[in-house]
Amino acid sequence: MNAQVFEDPVKTDMRAACEIAIDQAGLQLSPSLVKIPMTQESGLRGSLIGDLQSLDADDNRIFYFLRAVPIDALPKWIANFARASHALDAGEVYIVVRDYTPAFKQSCADAGAGILRLTDDNAFETVLAYSEATPVDIEQALAARQSELRRGMELKLELMRGEIEQRYQRVSHLVAEMNTEIADEYVNRVEQEYKTLDAWATEMSAKLDAIRADTTPAALAVIEDAVRTGPLLNGGD
């Protein structure tokens, strides 16, 4: 069993195109995905695995992470893997995209990840070579602040999500005596709150992903303020 079973079809299409591109590049698609465990020093859980892997004639491995939807900053979990890969010497990490922004390219360069653009005729065009992408160390204090903000955001999210879910679990009792329209309105409002919370969390996560070595204290303060304020829900009592 793997996550592909539930994969977004857009990504599945991209996966198929990448397999052709790997072949066109003269590489061999790795039939099984090798897991490279993170070291204890990295402080990370899990293993470098990627969406696809390939081998060249000398058994050099490439890990491909596919991103079907354009974004401005490399998600932190992939950035963490890319950074760690340079010390692990297990292979090269490439992000495969159909399109990219200058901000995304910079974000990958800072994390030490290469970028391959997948062309319409299913070939790879190297945008940024892995060998040219050296991870930029974020100052320790900034990195700690970034993690602190992320954990704070996750905690707020959990608390708010828990509160909505508790209310939702009681919903059938709460609406039992209401007429249909009011009951539906109440349930829809709870569901809407959940979606608003989810959208807020996704947005905050992307903002935290975009923190770089040269992020100014003022820009950081804006994110901090947004995390502290939280999402604007519809009341919900």
Binding site: M1, N2, A3, V5, F6, E7, D8, P9, K11, K35, I36, P37, G43, L44, R45, G46, S47, L48, I49, R67, A68, V69, I71, P75, K76, W77, N80, S147, R150, R151, E154, I164, E165, Y168, Q169, V171, S172, H173, A176, T180, A183, D184, V187, N188, V190, E191, Y194, K195, D198, A201, T202, M204, S205, A206, D209
Partner: protein, 326 residues
């Protein structure tokens, strides 16, 4: 005892264990859903940096020794696979009976995900089949779905299976890319019902499935302006009921609507009944004006110059219209 309370009591009886996420299978009763990558990035980063804090809930797979079936925690499970985790914490509970399993899927996931209506409908069909419960209120209580969602889901289930399959096949696409949309079929279902009840002579030679297929083809060939075009079917039928248009004319137009896929309900309405409705509106306005004028004259209010001019202008327009129609 509610579904959630039962679920918690079963959970309490289980044990906590560390399990290889690759030994876990998705729940067969959990409708197939697709998450976009961005929505999972947050959780992936959290798990990578902190770990899985809330255990998954699984039960032993009755059909395969050593494997487990996921009850709760699909996102955490998927992220664990992407992150190549060797083990994840999981609460192992007793395997639920089929109805329990379905109801728990509803109760666990309902608030969290935007299930496509077709997925809700298919799961609801299972619930109705196993529990023999068909009442809207009771189904709403059992599943936590709103009563209007239960109603809409049941209407969707009333369309032929091949059409449901067409909706399912496109459920993962962006709404803008879907042709066989759930709301399209809800409109078609309503239009077919109206046709059958209001114009029985037209509908009789066709099965329900044939009419639904004929109407769906209109969306497939792109002859609709909007899915709400099907509401003109009801207005067309009403035109016959209200004697706005001769019933035979309406019936001939309705047959054309079924047999010609490039003909939209709106076009048929515009060609056959729109003028009748316009004249009906004019008739009502004339009636109101006539009553108002009679009432004003009756109480003896002096007529203003402006009103007199307007009425003279109206008289000229009426004379023209009546003269032209003679």
């Amino acid at each position: 005892m509610t579904g959630v309370e039962e679920f918690e009591s079963v959970q309490a009886a289980g044990g906590l264990a560390e399990i290889d996420p690759e030994l876990i299978s998705a729940n067969p009763d959990n409708p197939r859903r697709f998450f976009n990558e961005e929505r999972l990035d947050l959780l992936r980063t959290s798990i990578q940096e902190v770990g899985v804090l809330v255990p998954l809930i699984v039960y032993e797979d009755p059909s395969e020794n050593g494997r487990f079936v996921l009850m709760d925690g699909e996102r955490r499970w998927r992220c664990s696979l992407d992150l190549g985790l060797q083990q994840v914490p999981a609460n192992i509970i007793a395997a639920p009976n089929p109805l329990d399993n379905l109801l728990r899927m509803f109760n666990i996931h309902n608030v969290r995900e935007d299930w496509p209506l077709v997925s809700v409908a298919l799961s609801l069909r299972e619930v109705m089949s196993i529990s023999s419960e068909v009442g809207e209120k009771r189904l709403s209580e059992m599943t936590g779905l709103t009563r209007s969602t239960v109603r809409r889901a049941k209407r969707l289930l009333s369309i032929p299976e091949p059409e449901i399959e067409l909706i399912r096949n496109e459920a993962h696409l962006d709404r803008s890319k879907q042709v066989h949309r759930e709301d399209l079929y809800l409109e078609i279902e309503a239009a077919e019902s109206v046709l059958r009840s209001e114009l029985p002579n037209v509908a009789a030679p066709y099965s329900r499935g044939q009419i639904i297929r004929a109407f769906a083809e209109k969306a497939e060939v792109g002859s609709l302006n909007a899915i709400t075009d099907f509401r003109f079917v009801a207005k067309l039928a009403k035109a016959a009921d209200d004697d706005i248009v001769d019933r035979a004319v309406v019936e001939a137009a309705a047959i054309q609507l079924i047999t010609e896929s490039n003909l939209s309900p709106r076009t048929v309405f515009d060609n056959v009944a729109a003028e009748g409705y316009r004249q009906q509106t004019l008739q009502r306005k004339a009636q109101v004006l006539s009553v108002e004028l009679a009432s004003s004259l009756h109480i003896g209010i002096a007529m203003s110059q402006a009103l007199r001019l307007e009425l003279e202008s109206l008289r000229a327009a009426i004379d023209d219209a009546l003269g032209a129609s003679e």
